[in-house]
C-alpha cells in the first residue's frame, strides 16, 4: 500500500503545471471519439489543452515527459445526466437542491449556483475517472425541470463549465403525472408554455406572469426563448415507442427545437425515425426489465440497435437503479455493451464506440464536443491514466488531469479506507488517525 502511494505521489510530482508542454508516452491511448485504442501512443498537452494524441506524434524538446508504459490513457469520463454536486446525499433533504416541489418557478430554474465543488461525492467520483458531469434538476410540480449545467470536477477550480446548458422536460408516465394525470395534458402544458414564451417575446412589458395564479411565470417564459430558438437543447425524458414518436413530431410545429431524447428505453423500435430526425439519445445502457408499462420492450441491445441505425447515443445512469453518486460505474455499463456483442441475437458496441458513449458523445450532444470528451487536438486536457483497460471492472485511475492540472489521488473514501484497513483501535481512538 505504501509503495503504491509513493508511486502515485511520484507521478503527481512529475505532472505538469498548466502553462507548459507535456508528453504522456508509451501508454495505450484511447481518443474517446469512437476509434480503437492505439498501442504505444503519445498524448501531447500544451497550456491545458490537447495538442495532439495518437501514434507517431513528434515530441517537442521542451516537453516534460510522463511515462505511461503499461497504462491506458483516455479522456476523462463525462458523466451523463446526474445530480452529483447538487446535494451532499440525495436522501439528506436539508442538503438537496435537485428539485423544488414548492417553488413557483419551473423552466426558469437554473441549477448552476447550487453546484458545490467541495461536495465529498464529487471528490470520490473523480477518483473513478469522472472529470466532467452533466447535471440536471429533477422535475417537481411541472413537466419543466429547469436548466442544467455541465461542470468540471477539478479540485479547487470553479465548477461550472457551462451554465444553462439545456432545458429538461418530463414526458411519458412521469410527465403525465406532473401535468395533472395524462399524456395529453403534458403536451398541453408544453404548447401553452411555448406560446406564452412567444407572447413574452412579442411584448415583454405587457406580459404578466407575476400573478399568483399565472400558469407561466415571467421567468419561465423568458427561459423558454432559447429553447424555441434552438439556442438551448431541450432534453426530453421519454421511454415508450409511441411517446418517442409524439415527441419527435414536435419539430413540425417548432422546427428550431434542438431535441435530445433521454431514456428512450423503447427507442430501438423506432430507431430509424430517431436517426432520420437527427435527434441524439441519452440512454441507460442496461435497462432490460419492463419496470414500467412505458418500458415493456426494454433490452440491453437498445443502445447497440440505436447506434446501428445511426443515432448518436450517450450513456447515463438515468433509469439505472444504482444510487445517483455512482457515476464511476458508467464505465462498467459501457463495458457491458461490449460484452453483449458476443451473445447470439444481441447487439452491442465496439470498444471504441462504447468508450465514446461516456466521453465524446455526451459532450457532443450538449454542444461541447469541441471542448471536452476526447483527446482530439484543441480539447481541454482532461486526461486519465488507468492501470488497465478503462472499461474493465478492475481498472482504476492512477493519475488524473483536468484542464491539464493534476488532480489529488485522495478522497474522503480513501481517507476512510486507510483509517479502517485495520479496524481495531490502537493506542488512541480512530479519531486520532488522520
Amino acid at each position: 500500500m505504501k509503495a503504491l502511494l509513493l508511486g502515485l505521489a511520484g507521478l503527481i510530482a512529475t505532472a505538469p503545471a498548466v502553462a507548459e508542454t507535456i508528453a504522456i508516452t508509451g501508454g495505450t491511448v484511447a481518443i474517446g471519439d469512437g476509434s480503437a485504442p492505439i498501442p504505444d501512443g503519445i498524448v501531447l498537452v500544451r497550456d491545458g489543452r490537447i495538442l495532439a494524441a495518437g501514434a507517431g506524434v513528434a515530441i517537442p524538446p521542451e516537453a516534460r515527459r510522463i511515462d505511461a508504459r503499461g497504462k491506458w490513457v483516455s479522456p476523462g469520463l463525462v458523466a451523463g445526466l446526474t445530480n452529483i454536486g447538487l446535494s451532499d446525499a440525495e436522501g439528506i433533504e436539508e442538503s438537496n437542491d435537485v428539485s423544488a416541489r414548492g417553488a413557483p418557478f419551473h423552466a426558469a430554474i437554473d441549477i448552476a449556483p447550487a453546484v458545490n465543488p467541495d461536495a465529498a461525492i464529487l471528490g470520490n467520483e473523480r477518483l473513478g475517472g469522472i472529470t466532467r458531469a452533466v447535471l440536471t434538476p429533477d422535475a417537481a410540480g411541472s413537466i419543466f425541470a429547469g436548466q442544467g449545467a455541465v461542470i468540471g470536477l477539478g479540485a479547487g477550480a470553479p465548477p461550472v463549465l457551462k451554465a444553462r446548458a439545456f432545458q429538461y422536460v418530463e414526458f411519458g408516465e412521469e410527465g403525465a403525472q406532473l401535468a395533472g394525470g395524462s399524456r395529453p395534458a403534458a403536451f398541453a402544458v408544453l404548447h401553452d408554455a411555448l406560446a406564452e414564451a412567444e407572447e413574452y417575446r412579442r411584448n415583454p412589458t405587457a406580459f404578466g406572469g407575476r400573478e399568483r395564479d399565472s400558469l407561466v411565470k415571467r421567468g419561465d417564459a423568458e427561459a423558454l426563448l432559447p429553447v424555441l430558438d434552438g439556442r438551448q437543447p431541450l432534453l426530453v425524458h421519454v421511454e415508450r415507442a409511441s411517446d418517442i414518436r409524439a415527441v419527435l413530431a414536435l419539430t413540425t410545429r417548432y422546427p428550431r427545437l434542438r431535441l435530445v431524447l433521454v431514456g428512450a428505453t423503447e427507442g430501438w423500435r423506432v430507431a430509424p425515425e430517431i436517426a432520420a430526425a437527427h435527434v441524439p439519445v441519452i440512454a441507460a445502457a442496461l435497462a432490460d426489465l419492463p419496470e414500467r408499462f412505458e418500458r415493456l420492450s426494454a433490452t440491453e441491445s437498445n443502445v447497440g440497435r440505436l447506434r446501428q441505425a445511426g443515432v448518436t447515443v450517450a450513456l447515463s445512469s438515468v433509469d439505472a437503479s444504482a444510487p445517483a453518486p455512482m457515476q464511476r460505474n458508467l464505465k462498467q455499463f459501457a463495458g457491458n455493451l461490449v460484452a453483449i456483442g458476443k451473445l447470439p441475437g444481441a447487439t452491442g458496441l465496439s470498444w471504441g464506440e462504447a468508450l465514446a458513449t461516456i466521453t465524446a458523445r455526451p459532450a457532443e450532444i450538449l454542444g461541447l464536443g469541441g471542448e471536452i470528451g476526447s483527446l482530439r487536438p484543441g480539447r481541454r486536457a482532461d486526461i486519465v491514466l488507468w492501470d488497465g483497460d478503462p472499461l474493465e471492472l478492475a481498472s482504476a485511475p492512477v493519475a488524473l488531469f483536468i484542464d491539464g492540472r493534476p488532480q489529488p489521488m485522495r478522497s474522503r473514501q480513501t481517507e476512510l479506507r486507510d483509517r479502517y484497513l485495520t479496524p481495531q483501535e490502537g493506542a488512541l481512538p480512530k479519531a486520532y488517525q488522520w
Partner: protein, 475 residues
C-alpha cells in the same frame, strides 16, 4: 426520473386492491402441514403450513471439460472437469471418471462456478412493472409486522426472475419484505425457477428468515406518521418491547408442549419471533451503521437470539473484528454509497476488509438490476481490495457470491459450492466471470439446463411478457 434508494425498492403504496389470487396448482399438503397435537417439542402448531412443492426439472448427466473451476469454497482448478447427474454434483477435479453417454461440454476458455445466491432480493414482492397494484413489499402499517410472510406477496411471474437467471447466473435467492418496519416479516428462499405458484419456487427445507431493519427507514416511516419510533432510540425501544413479549409467548408454548393442558392463543407474528428465539428462523437484519449493528448485537444477547447477517452493512468494515467475534455475517453492496446519511461512509473496500478480518462476508443486490451483475460487483470489490493491499484470490472471492450467502441462509449443506452430493446449481461463463466482457453461457438449476445463450428456447418468458412488445428478445 430516477429511482431513489431512500429505502430500497420502497414504493410503500397501500392501495386497497381486491386481490383474487389464483387458486394454484393444488399441491398435496405435506405431512408437516397438518397440525400435530401437543404436548411434545415442536408439536404445538404447524410449522410449515405452506410447504414447498418445488420439483427439480429433468437434466441429463453432464461432464464439463477443460474448464477453469471455482468450487465456491475457495478452491480453483485449472483445466478441470465437473460431472453432474440426477440433479446433483457427482465429482469435480482435474480429471473425473464419467460414464459413457454423458453429455460432454468443452469448457475451453470458459469458467464454471456454483450458481450465485442472492441473500437480499425483493423480486416478486416489488416486481416489474413497478406499479401500485404490484407493490407488495412493505406492510408499512405498523412498526413491527412479524406476522406477514414475503411468500404471500411473491408474484411468480416477475420478469426479474428470468433476467437474474440469464444475465446474472442467480440460481437461489432470498426474497425479503421491505425495510419500512423494524420487523418486516418472514422471508422466503426460492430456487430461481419460474413456477405457477410461489410454493413451487420455494427452496425445499430452507429455514425461514425474519427481516429486521435498523436506522433511518423505520424512524422516517413511523416518525412521519407521528408515532413511535421516530428516532433510533425509538427503534430499539419498540424492538425490545416486542422481543419481551415474544419471550413470554415462547415460554407459554414451551410450557404447553412440555406439560400439555390448554394450548395458548395463537399469535401469527409471535410464532415468527418464537421461531427466532428457538433458532429455527434466521434473523436477516438491514443495518447500515457500525454503531447500530453493535446495538442490535447487544439486543440479540439480551433476548437470546442470533443475527445471521446484517444486510446493507455499509459500515461493516469499521467493525469487521467485532462481526467476526460475534460470528455474524455481513451482506453488502460493492460500492453503493452516498444516497442517504447512513450510507455516507460507504467504501468499495468493505468486502475486502471484512475478508481480511476473517469475517463472513458476501455480496447482495437488493435490486432487480444489480442482481443481474453480482459477479461484476464482486470483481469491483476485489480489485478495490487489491489496490488497498489486501490480496484475495479470485476463487476465494467467489465465496462472497455463493457459499457465504448459502451459509447465512442455512442452506450451505445443499447449495453454494461444487461439492459432491450438493444441488447441481452451476453457471458456465463465456470468459473470466470477473471481467466486464463476460456473460453466462449456460445456467443449470438442480442439473436442469434452464438457460443457454445459444438457444433462444432456453430463455424464460414470463406470463406477463408473453405477447407484449419485446417478448423473447435477448434482454
Amino acid at each position: 426520473m430516477r429511482a431513489t434508494h431512500l429505502f430500497a425498492c420502497a414504493g410503500a403504496l397501500a392501495l386497497a386492491a381486491c386481490a383474487t389470487g389464483p387458486s394454484g396448482a393444488g399441491p398435496a399438503k405435506s405431512a408437516a402441514a397438518a397440525p400435530a397435537k401437543g404436548p411434545g417439542p415442536g408439536k404445538g402448531y404447524a410449522h410449515d403450513p405452506y410447504p414447498s412443492t418445488y420439483r427439480p426439472y429433468p437434466g441429463v448427466p453432464t461432464l464439463v471439460t477443460n474448464v477453469t473451476i471455482f468450487d465456491g469454497e475457495g478452491g480453483r482448478i485449472d483445466s478441470g472437469e465437473a460431472l453432474f447427474a440426477d440433479g446433483k454434483i457427482v465429482a469435480v477435479g482435474p480429471h473425473v471418471e464419467a460414464p459413457a453417454g454423458v453429455t460432454r461440454i468443452d469448457g475451453t476458455g470458459k469458467y464454471l462456478t456454483p450458481g450465485i445466491v442472492d441473500i437480499h432480493s425483493h423480486l416478486g414482492d416489488y416486481p416489474s412493472p413497478g406499479i401500485a397494484a404490484l407493490s407488495d413489499g412493505n406492510e408499512a402499517t405498523a412498526p413491527t409486522t412479524p406476522d406477514v410472510w414475503a411468500e404471500h406477496s411473491v408474484w411468480p411471474q416477475d420478469p426479474g426472475f428470468g433476467r437474474a437467471l440469464m444475465n446474472g447466473g442467480v440460481t437461489t435467492l432470498q426474497i425479503l419484505p421491505g425495510s419500512a418496519n423494524l420487523m418486516g416479516g418472514r422471508s422466503v428462499v426460492v430456487k430461481n425457477v419460474y413456477a405457477r405458484t410461489a410454493q413451487a419456487m420455494k427452496f425445499p427445507g430452507a429455514p425461514y428468515g425474519l427481516k429486521m431493519a435498523c436506522g433511518e427507514n423505520p424512524k422516517r416511516v413511523y416518525g412521519s406518521k407521528g408515532r413511535e419510533p421516530s428516532t433510533r432510540m425509538g427503534n430499539i425501544a419498540v424492538d425490545r418491547q416486542t422481543w419481551a413479549k415474544a419471550v413470554e409467548y415462547k415460554r407459554k408454548w414451551d410450557k404447553y408442549e412440555r406439560d400439555g393442558g390448554e394450548p395458548p392463543a395463537r399469535d401469527i407474528g409471535m410464532d415468527t419471533l418464537a421461531g427466532v428465539l428457538a433458532g429455527e428462523i434466521l434473523v436477516q437484519n438491514h443495518c447500515y451503521r457500525a454503531d447500530e449493528m453493535a446495538n442490535v448485537l447487544d439486543m440479540a444477547h439480551e433476548f437470546g437470539y442470533h443475527v445471521s447477517a446484517f444486510h446493507h452493512a455499509v459500515e461493516a468494515y469499521k467493525i469487521a473484528d467485532y462481526l467476526k467475534r460475534e460470528n455474524v455475517c455481513a451482506a453488502v453492496w460493492a460500492d453503493w454509497y452516498g444516497f442517504k446519511m447512513e450510507s455516507y461512509d460507504g467504501i468499495p473496500e468493505n468486502l475486502a476488509i471484512l475478508q481480511q478480518a476473517g469475517a463472513c462476508a458476501m455480496i447482495h443486490s437488493d435490486d432487480q438490476n444489480g442482481i443481474q451483475r453480482l459477479n461484476q460487483e464482486v470483481a469491483k470489490a476485489l480489485a478495490a481490495g487489491r489496490r488497498a493491499g489486501i490480496a484475495i484470490p479470485d476463487a476465494v472471492a467467489w465465496e462472497w457470491l455463493s457459499y457465504n450467502p448459502a451459509r447465512a441462509l442455512g442452506i450451505a449443506d445443499r447449495t453454494g459450492s461444487l461439492k459432491p452430493g450438493k444441488m447441481a446449481d452451476l453457471v458456465l461463463w463465456n470468459g473470466h466471470p470477473f471481467s466486464v466482457y463476460t456473460r453466462p453461457d449456460k445456467v443449470w438449476v438442480d442439473g436442469a439446463l434452464l438457460y443457454d445463450s445459444a438457444d433462444p428456447k432456453r430463455r424464460p418468458v414470463s406470463d406477463f411478457e408473453l405477447g407484449q412488445p419485446g417478448a423473447g428478445d435477448v434482454k
